[in-house]
């Protein structure tokens, strides 16, 4: 266990928990999951051409985001099913072209192998996400509640959606390093729904989600390191346990 993975885990955990809280609010919980699959071909191509995999992943994600945004805001096509088609297709292509040796890590991640540059990048981007999301949080929540109300006070809803999707792409790309393409969805969903069980104000919910994200990452890293298991799945299981606890607590109160 090294300091790089702990620092990365802290920042990525907080950022994905925080951003995830807004994704769940917007009922975009599964978008994170779908997008992480879309990243795989990009990741694979980056590995083949010896480019930083993060860049490849983010490029593929960016294309994915633009396509999703386009489908949602410019057409009346059924988003849900098209995204389903799109991400399974991408996953299949990705699995085919990813070099065998790297496939397992691409799919399931390995945060213990993170390099210095990647860790710095992860920290910087995480902080950026937290700052930007905080700045747009009120506008975003209002437009989640009612696009009519938001537009009526001058909020540019479709531009806001685009900025948000870019941040989702970034957080997914970061998450892939930690837990791989198959499980990244969990990082933006589980801490948020855990927080939702025990909070009822926006402030508490978003902060709670960030904290749970942090605990999931850290807890997962420590436990997997101690028992010498793959970090990715253990991180997801840790956050699931946190969810279970929050669920029990919420039932006790009601």
């Amino acid at each position: 266990m090294n300091y790089l993975q702990i620092i990365t885990g802290i920042f990525v955990g907080i950022a994905s928990g925080y951003l995830g809280s807004f994704m769940v609010l917007r009922r975009m919980a599964l978008v994170g999951d779908a997008l992480s699959h879309v990243a795989l071909p990009g990741l694979a191509l980056a590995l083949l051409f010896n480019i930083n995999p993060f860049i490849g992943a983010f490029a593929a994600l960016f294309v994915g985001i633009v396509i999703v945004w386009f489908i949602e805001n410019r057409t009346h096509l059924p988003t849900e099913s098209l995204i389903g088609l799109f991400f399974t297709f991408s996953l299949a292509v990705g699995i085919l072209i990813t070099p065998r040796a790297e496939l397992l890590e691409a799919l399931f991640g390995d945060i213990s192998k993170i390099a210095v540059m990647d860790a710095i990048l992860a920290v910087v981007l995480s902080v950026l996400i937290m700052v930007v999301m905080r700045a747009i949080s009120k506008k975003f929540t209002l437009s989640t509640l009612s696009t009519d109300l938001a537009s009526s006070v001058g909020i540019n809803v479709s531009r806001l959606n685009f900025i948000f999707l870019i941040m989702v792409a970034v957080i997914v790309a970061l998450g892939i390093k930690a837990v791989g393409t198959l499980l990244t969805g969990a990082l933006v969903i589980i801490p948020a729904i855990s927080a939702r069980n025990i909070t009822s104000s926006l402030g508490a919910y978003t902060v709670g989600s960030a904290i749970f994200g942090l605990l999931s990452l850290l807890g997962g890293i420590f436990i997997s390191s101690y028992f010498n298991l793959a970090p990715g799945p253990i991180i997801v299981l840790t956050s699931s346990v946190i969810f279970l606890v929050s669920f029990v607590l919420s039932n006790k109160n009601s």
């Binding site: 009120k138 109300l149 009526s152 006070v153 939702r196 104000s201 926006l202 508490a204 919910y205």
Partner: protein
């Protein structure tokens, strides 16, 4: 623009997907007036509001008095039961889009909808209103808060889309009373989409009958006759008077 008008609409048409939703509307609204917009479902009433708010493209002219502040209470705010947002946070969220509203602005808006904010009422205000999750309010309570929201910043004009839709009978009465209170403040101009002919009779100065085209414009008593309603909604109509017990 004429001195006493807050809004003048000329040749307003809205097209969508090749079809005409609004067809050549012409009307004006005076300051302090309460105008009802009635018509069957799909007549374009909400679309009219959207064009007045400049949210959708339209042809023709919509002239608001310069510097006018407009408040909007949309028709449906469907909110999940466990949506994590308190009433306080919702009221504060209006400051998101540029104008910063103070506590005082918010409290003033609450008072205007009959929610007391004095020191005696502080406990009740905090625990039973401000700290409550928005999703846990009843239909009537939510409507009242939405109206308060729209009143933050003291708008000159309120656009109300279906004030009593989805509210139970008990809640309806309080909304009527609230509308009456708002109407009494003479500087507020209200445009109100309503299916509820009861409110229209009682509270409005003028009625605009809309079914894509503007079928009629005038005082409630003259417009809402049996023949008027028949031509607006189509088919046979019968007027049955209910006595809800208000005077």
């Amino acid at each position: 623009m004429q001195e006493e008008n807050v809004l003048e609409v000329q040749n307003l048409s809205v097209e969508f997907n090749g079809g005409l939703i609004l067809d050549n509307l012409n009307f004006s609204v005076r300051r302090g007036e309460v105008l009802a917009i009635v018509g069957p479902n799909g007549a374009g009433k909400t679309v009219l509001f959207r064009s007045l708010l400049d949210l959708i493209p339209y042809s023709g002219e919509i002239d608001w008095k310069p510097g006018i502040r407009i408040g909007y209470v949309p028709q449906k705010l469907s909110i999940e039961h466990n949506f994590p947002l308190t009433v306080r946070e919702f009221l504060e969220i209006k400051s998101a889009a540029g104008v910063r509203y103070s506590h005082h602005d918010i409290f003033q808006a609450l008072e205007s909808v009959g929610i007391k904010t004095g020191t005696d009422e502080k406990h009740h205000l905090e625990h039973h209103i401000l700290n409550r999750p928005l999703g846990k309010l009843s239909g009537g309570e939510l409507q009242r808060i939405l109206i308060a929201w729209s009143m933050i910043g003291k708008p000159d004009v309120l656009l109300f889309d279906e004030p009593t839709a989805g509210i139970d009978a008990g809640g309806e009465e309080t909304i009527y009373q609230l509308l009456h209170k708002l109407q009494m403040s003479a500087t507020l101009t209200i445009l109100m989409i309503s299916h509820d002919l009861n409110i229209v009779y009682k509270y409005t100065d003028n009625v605009l009958c809309l079914n894509k085209k503007m079928l009629a414009f005038g005082r409630p008593k003259t417009i809402l006759s049996q023949e008027g309603l028949a031509s607006l909604y189509g088919g046979e109509t019968e007027i049955i008077r209910h006595d809800h017990g208000y005077n």
